[in-house]
């Protein structure tokens, strides 16, 4: 047989050809990028991370000052992202569970309320919802000069919610200074809009996932549980939910990762998450490639970790077939 008619040779050659074309494309893109960057006088590298960031970050759970380095600014942004993601995930899960139970009720009013909620929040864009909450919080609430004061030390204004904070010296009450309340704990409108918007949106999806999981458990299971003399609540907790969890966990993983990714919309309401910090860093340093690279790496890492953790949990609750 002639060598080029040999099927095995053809298979390998084609694979190699495709591989080299792909490598060639990568090399070409890299070369072009490098040439264009050089042409525009841009330098590539991560040296900028060690320079002073100089820009402000409006609020953070880690302490930050504009004299800190860029890498710390990134960390502070990441801290905010993780913080908002975790509390939104917890809130949305609780809300979602309530929603699922509501939609399974026989009472038409409860069912209708649940359905309306889900349809409303699931069918409008998240950006619009965030802007709505932000407008409601900043325009709908009274000005700082005439705050709502429902309890001593609690003030609700267009600049957010001020609460007494518990410190080592006892209660730290917010006190009105010339421009703002000082001391105490302040939940900014940006944070509140993000928290409300993301939680209510994610709850609609999570509610449907949980409901789907519960519906998927065969009706005979509930009937059998009741026939054995379990109370309806016990039937739900001991029979229905453990079986539903197996179905719920994989799509829940996606929802948690979605919450994380949706948190990048913080940009529109001015909450300083990691994408906000990245955008500012790129603007100040011009290091767009590096900035985006770090952002992608961070999101990739968190998503993978979440995914792996949820998979381990999933394999523990999954039906053991021996």
């Amino acid at each position: 047989m002639v060598w080029w008619r040999d099927q095995k040779f053809r298979a390998i050659a084609l694979q190699l050809l495709a591989a080299s074309a792909f490598i060639g494309l990568i090399l070409w893109l890299t070369g072009n990028t490098a040439a264009n960057l050089a042409k525009r006088g841009l330098t590539v590298g991560f040296d900028f991370l060690g320079r002073a960031a100089r820009f402000p970050i409006s609020e953070s759970i880690l302490s930050y000052s504009p004299t800190d380095h860029f890498w710390w600014a990134y960390t502070v942004g990441l801290g905010n992202t993780l913080f908002i993601t975790v509390i939104v995930a917890l809130t949305a899960t609780v809300l979602g569970l309530m929603l699922a139970i509501l939609r399974r009720e026989d009472n038409p009013l409860a069912q209708g309320a649940g359905t309306t909620y889900v349809e409303f929040f699931r069918n409008t864009p998240l950006v619009v919802q965030l802007l709505f909450w932000y407008a409601l919080v900043t325009v709908g609430l009274p000005s700082i000069d005439a705050p709502l004061n429902p309890l001593p030390g609690v003030y609700l204004t267009e600049r957010g919610l001020y609460l007494p904070a518990i410190s080592l010296n006892g209660l730290d009450m917010p006190v009105r200074a010339k421009f703002n309340f000082e001391g105490g704990l302040n939940l900014s409108p940006e944070f509140v809009a993000m928290y409300l918007g993301l939680s209510l949106y994610a709850a609609a999806f999570i509610g449907e996932i949980i409901r789907g999981g519960l519906e998927a458990v065969s009706k005979g299971q509930t009937e059998a549980a009741l026939a054995l003399g379990l109370a309806p609540k016990q039937a739900l907790n001991l029979v229905l939910i453990p079986q539903a969890l197996r179905i719920i966990i994989p799509p829940m993983t996606s929802q948690y990762i979605n919450i994380l990714k949706n948190s990048t919309l913080a940009l529109v309401v001015g909450y300083p998450d990691i994408s906000f910090v990245t955008a500012t860093t790129i603007n100040q340093t011009g290091q767009a490639l590096e900035g985006i690279f770090i952002l992608m790496l961070v999101f990739f890492t968190i998503s993978i970790v979440t995914s792996v953790a949820m998979n381990i949990y999933n394999s523990r609750v999954a039906l053991k077939v021996r």
């Binding site: 060598w3 040999d6 040779f9 390998i12 050659a13 190699l16 050809l17 080299s20 074309a21 490598i23 060639g24 494309l25 090399l27 070409w28 890299t30 070369g31 072009n32 490098a34 040439a35 050089a38 042409k39 525009r40 006088g41 100089r54 820009f55 402000p56 970050i57 409006s58 000052s65 504009p66 004299t67 900043t138 325009v139 000005s143 700082i144 267009e158 600049r159 200074a177 010339k178 421009f179 703002n180 000082e182 900014s188 409108p189 940006e190 940009l267 529109v268 001015g270 300083p272 906000f276 955008a279 500012t280 603007n283 100040q284």
Partner: protein
């Protein structure tokens, strides 16, 4: 067989590696046309200028769609000098990100759009002419607070727009003077302004020129707000041209010089015709009564006369767009002639 396979990869690999050979760097936009912006403009019959999207006093179309503003008049002056008609100018509204690229690629001939002269920009493919407006970074606060300087707003919430040097200036001012200012940071202009007017912030920080413009056009009562400088740094807004065309660079520089020299010599739109009869050699040179100066730039001898007759001297342009005769009412400040204590220096017209 395996060896042949490897040979093929070798060839493909070598080809791939060769293809990204970097092209020679050439920033002078339309290739082979170096030194011909003037010719292009004369052929088209109009000057193409970059404009802002909405910046009252600097560049904004009026209710009849006619472009007006300090930066617009810079472009009209060039049109008057080069083509003899200030209306032979076209305006391309550009965002902050598009503007330099539009100039470098030849989409526009001149960029008079509130662009700060910075070293990085100067070194990257554009030439800055003379600053036509010295700006500064300012705070706008409600007059009722009684604040007149940064030290008066200790502890205030400040609306800041991300994506500019303003952010860094804000952080520096707050940190240096220990003002403990609380930033509220937005990604876009309108959200930032709206947050300030709704009361979310006590102060708004940005270029003073925009603050005056916002105060004049977006507040219910401009007198309810005061504007003061955030620091003592001047911010020179400078019309720019692209690299590689020295003649065009010279023309734009001297068009602006003609306007400040006219103010220095007291030549205005109204008296320019009388001034043609002046005995003063400086005036005679500027207005082209004594020939040679227009030709040196490749223009007609009456180029400066046309600028002053149609657009006016720098003082007139300033007053009508941003100064005392406008809604903005910005003090001349650093934009006075050097004779009057400002930074506008007329160069020798000889």
């Amino acid at each position: 067989m395996r060896r042949r396979g490897l040979a093929i990869i070798g060839v493909v690999g070598a080809l791939a590696a060769c293809s990204p050979a970097p092209k020679p760097v050439n920033d002078a936009a339309p290739a082979g046309k170096a030194g011909s912006t003037l010719a292009t403009v004369q052929k088209h019959g109009y000057v193409s200028c970059g404009a802002s999207q909405a910046n009252a006093g600097f560049s904004l179309p009026d209710d009849k769609g006619y472009w007006r503003g300090l930066d617009i008049d810079m472009c009209r002056a060039v049109a008057a000098a080069v083509l003899g008609d200030q209306d032979k100018a076209r305006f391309v509204p550009l965002t902050g990100q598009q503007r330099l690229t539009a100039l470098q690629t030849g989409e526009i001939d001149l960029l008079p759009r509130t662009t700060t002269w910075t070293m990085a920009r100067d070194a990257n493919g554009v030439n800055f002419t003379f600053p036509n407006y010295y700006d500064y970074t300012g705070f706008m606060v409600r007059a009722a607070t009684g604040a007149t300087k940064p030290a008066d707003i200790k502890g205030a919430s400040v609306c800041v727009q991300t994506g500019s040097i303003t952010e860094v200036i804000f952080a520096d001012v707050s940190w240096r003077q220990k003002l403990d200012l609380k930033p509220v940071i937005f990604d876009n202009v309108s959200a930032t302004r709206q947050a300030f007017f709704s009361g979310r912030c006590d102060a708004l920080i940005t270029d003073a020129s925009s603050l005056y413009s916002v105060r004049a056009t977006q507040s219910k009562n401009p007198d309810d707000y005061v504007i003061f400088a955030a620091n003592d740094e001047a911010n020179p807004l400078t019309p720019a041209v692209r690299h590689g065309d020295d003649q065009w660079f010279d023309i734009v520089k001297w068009v602006f010089q003609a306007q400040i020299t006219a103010e220095y010599l007291g030549i205005t739109r109204d008296n320019v015709d009388e001034m043609l009869k002046s005995e003063d050699p400086a005036i005679r040179r500027l207005l082209g009564v004594e020939p040679g100066y227009g030709k040196a730039l490749g223009l007609r001898e009456d180029w400066a006369y046309q600028i002053i007759k149609q657009v006016g001297n720098y003082g007139e342009v300033y007053d009508r767009n941003v100064g005392k005769d406008s809604k903005l009412k910005i003090d001349r400040g650093l934009n006075r002639l050097q004779r009057d204590g400002g930074l506008m220096v007329p160069l020798p017209f000889s």
